[in-house]
């Protein structure tokens, strides 16, 4: 059985003063999640025009490649579809395609973007490329059989151009970027965070005023890892044992959210629950210890905080500094779900807590169900396989 999977994440910043990004990333995953196509396109210029060019390019290529069409057909379609710029008389968008098959093989197709950086065993790996010409365009192609922990970093030219005439005379060269990224190989960073770290550095090198759109797109090959999360007591109290035995029989780490829920688990396990009185974060109630469970937290307030972090993570990723180090319950859940897990099983209990049905309290049953729905959708956008079972 293939227990490898790919994690894909990216981060973009805009040319200073532009509302729209001229780079565009499009990811299409197969239904089983083992195959995917990720395209990074960089449109000519910046602003609206660049955005239209790169969006069209990325969208067309990702759709066509994922339906199994040849690269020649894709390039020809893009060339005849893109609107021609009235100023420059050309239609132009560079692109990088990462075409993953069964989490086993990766095909790289590169047209005029900075060469993809590949890290293997902690070091830069110089992969061979084969040159082909399609419609007058010089395109590089590579096929690589993947190994666990391989990392691929695709960039738009806004990255190596960082710091031109400012921090570096000739920009942040590919070698420099490799030197910067290599030490991060062993850090267990997610693809999203690797992309963010790179682009944040680019932003700094531009002195906070990027002279170009800059994007990093990272694909990391990793082992599948399952995390199970139990949230809420079952609607029918007679279902407690069934819910607990299904939950605890799952492989991987176990997280329990909710006071009543953890009491039910404690009873099932025949262990005592020990809540802490340490308020690490003033907004998040303390965690508790329970033998046989990796993490026990309070319910709705903590999960609500996790949702806030999740929504930030899939957009600007600005709160990473907080949840990646803090020891509060919500941050601990974030690290397990966003960083460690590739597959997540939610066991959601639909009991209505009579104590919460008080109009003075800002928590009620529907909020809890909404939290689960929203969090599930965020996690799916992160590329996680999520299964939700209700009790």
């Amino acid at each position: 059985m293939n227990d490898l999977c790919a994690e894909i994440g990216f981060k973009s910043i805009n040319h200073a003063g532009e509302e729209l990004c001229g780079d565009h990333v499009e990811i299409v995953e197969s239904d089983d999640g083992n195959s995917a196509v990720a395209v990074l396109a960089d449109g000519l210029g910046s602003g609206v025009q660049a955005s239209i060019l790169s969006t069209l390019t990325a969208k067309i290529i990702s759709t066509m490649v994922s339906s199994g069409m040849s690269i020649e057909q894709c390039v020809n379609t893009v060339a005849s579809t893109l609107p021609v710029s009235p100023e420059r008389g050309v239609a132009y968008s560079t692109f990088t395609i990462l075409n993953l098959t069964n989490s086993r093989e990766l095909e790289l197709i590169q047209y005029d973007n900075p060469l993809v950086i590949m890290l293997r065993d902690g070091k830069n790996f110089d992969y061979p490329t084969e040159e082909m010409t399609i419609g007058g365009k010089k395109i590089l192609r590579t096929r690589i059989i993947l190994k666990e922990n391989d990392i691929f970093i695709a960039m738009s030219d806004g990255c190596p151009h960082a710091g031109i005439g400012n921090s570096y005379n000739f920009g942040w060269k590919r070698e420099n970027i490799i030197d910067f990224m290599e030490p991060l190989y062993y850090g267990d960073y997610t693809s999203k965070n690797l992309s963010t770290i790179l682009v944040d550095e680019v932003y700094g090198l531009y002195g906070g005023e990027p002279k170009d759109d800059a994007t990093a797109l990272t694909l990391k090959i990793r082992k599948r890892r399952q995390v199970n999360l139990l949230f809420g007591p079952p609607a029918d109290p007679d279902d407690c044992d069934r819910m607990m035995s299904l939950f605890f029989s799952k492989e991987g780490k176990h997280v329990i959210c909710g006071g009543t829920t953890s009491s039910i688990a404690a009873k099932y396990l025949g262990k005592k629950i020990k809540p802490s009185l340490e308020f690490v974060d003033k907004d998040v109630p303390p965690i508790a210890e329970l033998d046989g469970v990796d993490l026990v937290t309070e319910g709705v307030i903590t999960v609500n905080k996790v949702l806030q972090y999740a929504q930030d993570y899939i957009t600007d990723n600005e709160l990473y500094d907080k949840w990646s180090v803090s020891r509060d319950g919500a941050s601990l859940i974030c690290r397990l779900l966003f960083e460690e897990a590739t597959d997540i099983n939610f066991f959601v209990g639909r009991a209505i807590n009579p104590a919460h049905q008080n109009p003075d309290l800002p928590i009620n049953f529907s909020i809890k169900m909404q939290l689960v729905d929203k969090l599930t959708s965020c996690l799916k956008q992160m590329g996680k396989k999520v299964k939700v079972s209700y009790f």
Binding site: S263, I273, L277, K282, P285, A355, N358, L361
Partner: protein, 79 residues
């Protein structure tokens, strides 16, 4: 003496953090850290009366405003 403070969702919203922090201060100020054991508990099932605090098993309803009085009458007086 064992004082248990509920840190469940409902009591959290009603200010259990303030109660916990103030209780820790009061216990230290009065030099009772070897006599009074502060501990936490998830939901005690009396969310309406939060913040729920038990002193050797007896349930009290405390709020951040009443915590000083509560400490004087039910902890300090009984130690």
């Amino acid at each position: 003496m064992n004082v248990t403070i509920c840190i469940g969702s409902s009591c959290h919203i009603k200010g259990s953090r303030e109660v916990v922090d103030r209780m820790k201060e009061l216990v230290n100020e009065n030099g009772l850290s070897d006599k009074v054991e502060l501990s936490g508990a998830f939901c005690m099932g009396h969310c309406k009366d939060g913040v729920c605090v038990t002193v050797d098993g007896k349930l009290y309803s405390v709020s951040p405003e009443t915590v000083d009085d509560f400490f004087k009458n039910n902890v300090l007086a009984k130690v």
